[in-house]
Amino acid sequence: MKAAPFEYSRAADIDEACALLAADESTRVVAGGQTLVPMMAMRLARPTRLIDINRIAALSYIRDDGETIAIGATTRQCVVERDPLVARKVPLLARAIPWIGHAATRARGTIGGSLANADPAAELPLLAITLDAVLNYRVDGQTAEMPARDFFIGPMITTLPTGACLTGVRFPVWRGAKVGVGFHEVNARRSDFAFVSAAAQVELGDDGECKRIAIAIGAAVDFPMRLDSAEQQLQGGALADAAVQAAVTDALADIDPLADLHASAEYRRRVAINLAARAVADARSQAQGSKNHAH
């Protein structure tokens, strides 16, 4: 399983990378390589040129921008996993990242790589959708941004323009005093891609009612899906189990889940409902118990 031949360049900065990308359609960037390199080994991906962006220091950062936490595209997943700022301000990320692959793949895999790859079962796209993250990219010498909702449109398909390269992602920070998170995924073995996953973040008001809620599911359909109708239904309420179950069931009634070697469509639908409810319950409990943000 040796990759097909390719040329290799190291980009010194993002514009050099974009220029190389624009010059040839079958050029790709490589960051962590944890997904791209196996595809190349199996000759399913055959770029004629790889642009290595690992050394562009400006793409590796974790910053507190006030309203958001900004993470550079080539920041390693393991760095985000351990970062205390992220744990405080975007606890859902800290909760979910340990579920990505294995320690050895998180050591190299990047935040941007996983987002750009857009695997329907991947954790980071799910979190980006749940939290309404904004993705930044560079193309033709210009920086642009795109909300996560507009970014993931199919299995491994994004609206990233040709010749563009992701530069970073901003995760909004929920500032309330009682914020909690929940994350669940189910798979055959612990570190596999999920059959179904669910993420939730809840902010409770002083009266214990739900002030704000975000729920999304992953791996069930072609891209991560926010449960907008469930959120609307549950907002302002007490998030009782029955209400959550009903809201989530309604929201998922009409989806057309994926069926494959690992799980049937019915399994995905049913378990999506179950995991979404569990994620909300976890988030609610944590919000009730917390004075500040979650650990």
């Binding site: 399983m1 040796k2 990759a3 097909a4 031949p5 199996m42 000759r43 189910v186 798979n187 055959a188 073995r189 612990r190 570190s191 596999d192 891609f193 059959f195 070697l261 690992h262 799980a263 049937s264 019915e266 399994y267 049913r270 378990v271 179950n274 995991l275």
Partner: protein, 801 residues
């Protein structure tokens, strides 16, 4: 551990495994590590369809690429070589390394490209243009049996390779006379051992010496023979290097088609040729899949749960071709009733071809699937009667005092104490407490079940299933051997004559010889000569090496001890009865100061011929070639035969929970009682059992070579073929017992398959116990999360949950 630790000095003691030293520093000698000058590399062109006629192969683009030396196709290879050896008498189902005219499974090898590097060979393989004409195909074994089915091999006239029924005892009468009957259908999904190292081989032909050197990651009886036969060269022109370390095999590394391929290429092209399968080649076309077996079991029993008679039909989906694999239906005959006193048995063994990857021998050689069928059945018998499953097993089990015990199919089990092993496990872990824990989990909302399996590990590897299944085969031996020399300065060197894949055979040999000669095993060198310098060996199959290699080493050491004693008594001028051999010295019982030391004896044997007894060869070289204990007889006309000489025993007791919403199973308690007779090296045996259990958990829950409706293998890589990681294997406690075998030199039995033989059955029984309150069951392995989840949801919907 030995029940009599004082009895042995080295055997059964906690010794390190000497092979570990080279592995921990990365200095194993794996085939891909071997660097032979001028080697070129092979990559395969494979058929994308499950069945297709090969109309043409255009090699021109490949041959034009720099660094590419050759493109070999099936026609050229078929004209120069004989088909690969098959076990059954099926001349119209030939098997070849490269497809000839017709490819019969997706992934079958159609052409081989030889280039300066593996990467270049892969580049070139992509440019080879094969024109195929798609043909109809069949994937399901029951469909392949039907009249009018697509034929995988037209000339054979049907898809049936084997259909043989054995009747041992008065089966019909026993069924008629029994008050109770039960039928069960059990499906063992296609899985295999899938070692982390793929198969690889390097072959180099020396035309002046007329020797074909072969280095391979091999575990195969008659490997050199099969190479010689296929390449039409004398076997004395084949030199297989047994000092290659094999990175795991557990049965499957037979690689004969790879070897014949590179063997032909090196002779044709004049330089060494190397084929190391990549993982894709291995999974689809390496011909290392394992059993895919459908059982129909019927039992006749009484109200106390004692099973009088059993009928079993085993239908095996062999894949597109068959080498030795149909014999995997025959080996379980040697333990067809498991540890139970079932009085009569009807067994129908059927093997069919389909358009799937070819199957190879897998750890246990069919015993583990058969154990699932037996153990699921006995659980269902217990449940039907409302009796405890352990109690029903006890009632059926052969008792300690009844050994040696001959089962209906003709094999005599050597020894065992099944009831004591069970007692010991339950003394270690209270069955009542386990049931309470199960009930507590159930009331907390989980599904929970206790799983039990009691199984035998036939060991000693006598291949009598060959003659049983194919009466044209008259082999009644499965040898092994050991040679010991003491050199002129007194060091001991022993030889063993096969490759190993982690079983610690060098440690085994040195320990046994050290025990007999009463010298430190660490001082004994163990080497592996090549096949031209070796005595016969049946290789590590059939859980045989402790018995056969251990036995050969034991006998050779005793020959040496006898010779040393004779030299000493002659030189001391004393009668033999007065000689005491101790720690490498011989002394006079009546006058202990009169002795000959090891150095003295070496001096006499190597240099002082005038002091030697008459008619004795000088030097200190002995060897022993061993026959299988209890072996030597062909099967009777009604298919009774002594299969393996020994039976080890294992009793699994586990607790499994299932999340009812997700269908995810978790093993929360694992106990195994294990009796393999005298344990030669405890670290090795423990490792085997732990590894076997992990392997069995994989087969029960995670691993499957699943095919889609188009004949494509869906699990082509490790992303879809799921191997258990450390998270999937629970902590296991092993409770040991020793019932020595009367048939072996130290009382040892085999343990190479331990854990694997019973774990799938235990997991299947545990999951069924967990599902029982919902009124559902499953008898299809692997038991997948999604399937469990859907079953549970449907059952709860029916019950109004």
């Amino acid at each position: 551990m030995s029940e009599n630790p004082d009895h042995f000095r080295f055997v059964s003691t906690d010794r390190r495994v000497r092979e570990d030293r080279r592995f921990v520093v990365g200095k194993g000698n794996f085939v891909a590590d071997i660097d032979v000058a001028n080697t070129r590399h092979v990559a395969l062109v494979t058929c994308p369809y499950p069945a297709a006629a090969i109309k043409s192969i255009d090699k021109s683009a490949a041959l034009a690429m720099p660094g590419v030396h050759y493109v070999l196709d099936g026609r050229e290879l078929a004209e120069a070589t004989l088909p690969l050896m098959t076990g059954l008498d099926t001349p119209n189902v030939p098997r070849r390394p490269l497809a000839l005219d017709v490819a019969r499974y997706a992934g079958e090898w159609v052409a081989a490209v030889v280039a300066d590097t593996r990467a270049l060979a892969e580049d070139a393989a992509e440019t080879v243009k094969v024109v195929y004409e798609k043909l109809p195909f069949v994937l399901d074994a029951e469909q392949a049996l039907q009249a009018g089915s697509v034929l995988v091999h037209e000339a054979h006239g049907s898809n049936v390779l084997l259909d043989k029924t054995f009747v041992w005892g008065a089966v019909d009468k026993d069924f008629a006379d029994s008050p109770r009957h039960l039928s069960l259908r059990v499906k063992w999904g296609r899985s295999s051992t899938v070692p982390i190292e793929t198969f690889g081989v390097v072959a180099s032909w020396d035309p002046w010496r007329e020797i074909l050197d072969v280095w391979a990651s091999i575990q195969m009886p008659r490997y050199a023979d099969q190479i010689g036969i296929a390449l039409k060269i004398p076997v004395s022109s084949v030199r297989v290097h047994y000092d290659v370390d094999v990175g795991g095999s557990y049965g499957v590394k037979r690689g004969i088609k790879h070897t014949v391929l590179v063997g032909y290429l090196t002779r044709r092209l004049g330089f060494p040729v190397r084929l190391i399968e990549d993982r894709l080649e291995n999974m689809r076309g390496g011909d290392a899949h394992g059993p895919e077996r459908l059982f129909n079991v019927d039992v006749a029993f009484d109200d106390s749960g004692v099973i009088r008679s059993m009928k079993m039909r085993a239908l095996e989906n062999v894949g597109a071709y068959a080498g030795r694999s149909p014999f995997q239906l025959g080996k379980p005959v040697g333990a067809i009733v498991g540890p139970y006193k079932i009085q009569s048995v009807q067994y129908r063994a059927m093997a069919v071809v389909t358009n799937k990857t070819t199957q190879e021998a897998v750890r246990g050689f069919g015993q583990s699937p058969t154990n699932v069928a037996i153990e699921r059945t006995i659980d269902e018998v217990a449940h039907t009667l409302g009796l405890d499953p352990i109690e029903v097993r006890r009632r059926n089990m052969i008792r300690h005092e009844e050994f040696p015990y001959t089962i209906p199919s003709g094999t005599t089990y050597d020894s065992g104490d099944y009831h004591t092993v069970i007692d010991k496990v339950l003394a270690h872990t209270s069955y009542e407490d386990l049931k309470k824990e199960r009930d507590r989990l159930r009331s907390a909302g989980k599904l929970a079940g206790i799983g039990i399996a009691a199984c035998l590990e036939p060991s000693g590897g006598n291949a009598m299933f060959e003659a049983l299944i194919n009466p044209k085969i008259t082999t009644t031996t499965f040898m092994d051997s050991c040679r010991i020399t003491v050199d002129g300065l007194g060091s001991i060197t022993a030889t063993m004559h096969t490759t190993s894949s982690g079983q610690g055979h060098e440690t085994l040999v040195s320990t046994v010889i050290g025990e007999v000669l009463q010298v430190n095993p660490d001082s004994i060198r163990v080497t592996r000569p090549d096949s031209l310098n070796s005595l016969p060996s049946g290789t590590p199959v059939g859980s045989r090496m402790a018995i056969m290699l251990g036995g050969a080493a034991f006998h050779a050491a005793n020959k040496l001890k006898t010779k040393l004693t004779a030299i000493a008594t002659h030189d001391l001028g004393i009668p033999l009865e007065r000689a005491i051999y101790a720690n490498g010295e011989v002394y006079d019982r009546n006058a202990p100061q009169d002795r000959r030391t090891w150095a003295d004896l070496v001096q006499i044997a190597h240099r002082n011929f005038h002091r030697m007894p008459s008619d004795m060869e000088p030097g200190l070289a002995v060897s022993h070639v061993m026959q299988v204990p209890t072996g030597g007889k062909l099967p009777t006309a009604d298919g009774r035969v002594q299969m393996y000489p020994c039976t080890s025993f294992e009793f699994h007791l586990i607790l499994v929970t299932i999340d009812p919403d997700l269908g995810t199973p978790e093993i929360v308690c694992y106990r195994i009682g294990h009796d393999c007779g005298t344990v030669i090296n405890p670290k090795i045996v423990r490792g085997m059992t732990m590894g076997g259990i992990a392997h069995g958990i994989g087969a029960a829950l995670y691993e499957e070579f699943a095919y889609d409706g188009e004949g494509q293998l869906m699990a082509q890589s490790f992303m879809d073929y799921l191997l258990p990681s450390s998270h999937e294997v629970p902590p296991v406690e092993i409770i040991h017992h020793v019932t020595p075998s009367p048939n072996t030199v130290l009382g040892q039995k085999g343990s190479g398959e331990s854990g694997y033989l019973g774990a799938p059955a235990a997991v299947a029984n545990a999951i069924n116990d967990a599902l029982r309150p919902l009124g559902i069951s499953t008898n299809t392995l692997p038991i997948k999360v999604s399937v469990l989840g859907d079953m549970i949801a449907a059952a709860r919907a029916n019950k109004g949950h």
